[in-house]
Amino acid sequence: MRKYIYILKTTFLDSIQYVSSILFKFIGYFISIFVMFSLWSYVYSDASNIINGYTLTQMMWYILMSEIITYGGNSKVIINEITEDIKNGNIAYHINKPYHYLGYIFMKYIGDSILRVLLYALVSILLAVLFVGFIPGFNFTNIIFIILSFILGFLINGFLKITISLLSFWIEDSEPFHWIYNKFMLILGVFFPVEMFPKFLQPYIAFTPVYVVIYGPSKLIVDFSFELFKSILIGQLIYTLITGLIMILVFKKGVKRVNVNGG
């Protein structure tokens, strides 16, 4: 385990070198937040309105918190690096090292994301307080459960993205699948909470990764209840198990296809 912690630590140190590039990406983030704030302020013509159970304050907090996972989890390690490793045959040089490639990549994903997640969390919280103030009745003792839910959402997001990248063993480019996944998360999770969709669609959305990756953790911040926490936690644990297993299976099947020509 020490080696995996070292991989995490080394990637974290490496990521500090890229602070400027993280900060640069904040431009896109600020634009997206500004658009969302303007849009929802218009929809909530009166701040005291409640739409599908959300006040404007709750809606903005929901969006800002969900952006922590989408922007924070947007690691080049689990998208570009895996695809590159598979395409140029570098993966072969990893599999003869005394670590598991998936463990290596996963630790790099976490190490690479820590700083980004913290920065986005800090800025998101600041913006939320600035735009709409604190969430009324927020109980700080629940924070530990919310963080746990965020961590699990972050893990599932990683497993899914790694699995998508591993498709490069079979297809030329996994990028279109990442695009679909990201848009799916954005529309069904970030832009609109599940409650905004028609009633008949809501149960189906609850079964998708959106519910456990984006909706769950964000919803817990704006409207915490132990009942909701329990249902989200169960969903997250099932998803962690299933997506983790799928990721391992896809890797095991794919790695047999490694064909590195001599040079």
Partner: protein
């Protein structure tokens, strides 16, 4: 003690074949065609502990594929491999602790980190204690003369400095065998010489077995006592460097500059390689003719300058490649 045992090792690659043009491209989507190429074909050899062996051959001969099978990167199609008594395909991770690999064309170092941080990282990957890692870094820092740049990010190092660090990174866990796949590729002669000296010292001081592939004949000549030449996936020669030279060096090259043009007649054992104006170049097979026969043929009083040399090893190897095509 045998550290590498290879018997009838083969590796076939399935390569997609596409017909020409748009029609061919569309056809290959629906009905892909493949052909099988034999990269390595029933290769057998053994390597003793502490040996420095050169594994050479032209491009596409199967050298790197063999190294990749020996290090567990590729699965053989058939045959047996044992490295340090371990089957690389079945116990890849166990083998990783016993071997070090440097692929001249692949970077394994993290470019944003310094060599020192990289060595610490690789040490941790191989489950070494911090104290041992520090001790090894200190040793190799001296052996490979890394003092000046051990704290400079790898991306700012020259190629020669980087390769030295790559070798140290692959040695941090004290492997019994070091696989070097074209370690001096792209380096200038001075740096090449430095790296050769370091590899030699490593072999002498630590008794590390070195398995080397290179296109650079000087690498082979200066480092290895044994040469294995592969071509078209097969071993065409497995001999000591001494024998290789002895068998082929009975041919001498005689180059002469003449006062005036002379009429040369080829004799059995003397081949005219060049006869242009006043310059002549002869190849003398010393098993058939003596050097003095060649000089007599040139008419000694007409010679201004003469040079007698061995056939360069490079030419010998090229000849062997050609003969086995």
């Amino acid at each position: 003690m045998k550290v590498i045992e290879v018997e009838k090792l083969s590796k076939n690659f399935k390569v997609k074949v596409k017909e020409k043009g748009l029609k061919g491209s569309i056809k290959s989507i629906f009905k892909p065609k493949y052909k099988t190429t034999k990269a390595v074909d029933k290769v057998s050899f053994e390597v003793e502990q502490g040996e420095m062996i050169a594994f050479i051959g032209p491009n596409g001969a199967g050298k790197s594929t063999t190294i990749k099978m020996l290090t567990g990167i590729l699965y053989p199609t058939s045959g047996e491999v044992k490295v340090m008594g371990i089957n690389p395909t079945k116990e890849r991770k166990k083998l990783a602790y016993q071997i070090g690999t440097v692929f001249g064309q692949k970077e394994q170092l993290w470019t944003h980190l310094t060599p020192y941080d990289n060595f610490k990282f690789f040490g941790a990957v191989y489950d070494l204690d911090d104290a041992i890692i520090e001790k090894r870094i200190k040793e190799y820092k001296e052996l490979f003369e890394l003092d000046d740049f051990i704290n400079t990010p790898v991306r700012n190092l020259s190629l020669g400095q980087r390769i030295r660090c790559e070798i140290v990174a692959s040695l941090i866990h004290n492997p019994k065998i070091l696989f070097l796949d074209e370690p001096t590729i792209g380096l200038d002669p001075v740096v090449k010489e430095k790296i050769r000296t370091l590899i030699k010292r490593l072999n002498k001081e630590n008794k590390t077995t070195v398995f080397l592939t290179s296109h650079d004949v000087s690498d082979i000549e200066k480092l290895c006592k044994r040469v294995v030449i592969v071509n078209n996936g097969k071993i065409v020669l497995d001999d000591s460097m001494e024998n290789l030279k002895y068998h082929y060096l009975n041919k001498k090259i005689v180059e002469a500059k003449m006062k005036e043009k002379i009429n040369l007649k080829e004799l059995d054992g003397i081949t005219i390689l060049k006869d242009k104006d006043y310059s002549l170049k002869l190849e003398v097979d010393t098993t058939k003719r003596s050097i003095s026969d060649a000089i007599k043929l040139l008419e000694p009083d007409k010679i201004i300058d003469i040079n007698i040399s061995n056939i360069p090893l490079e030419n010998i190897i090229t000849e062997i490649y050609k003969d086995t095509k």
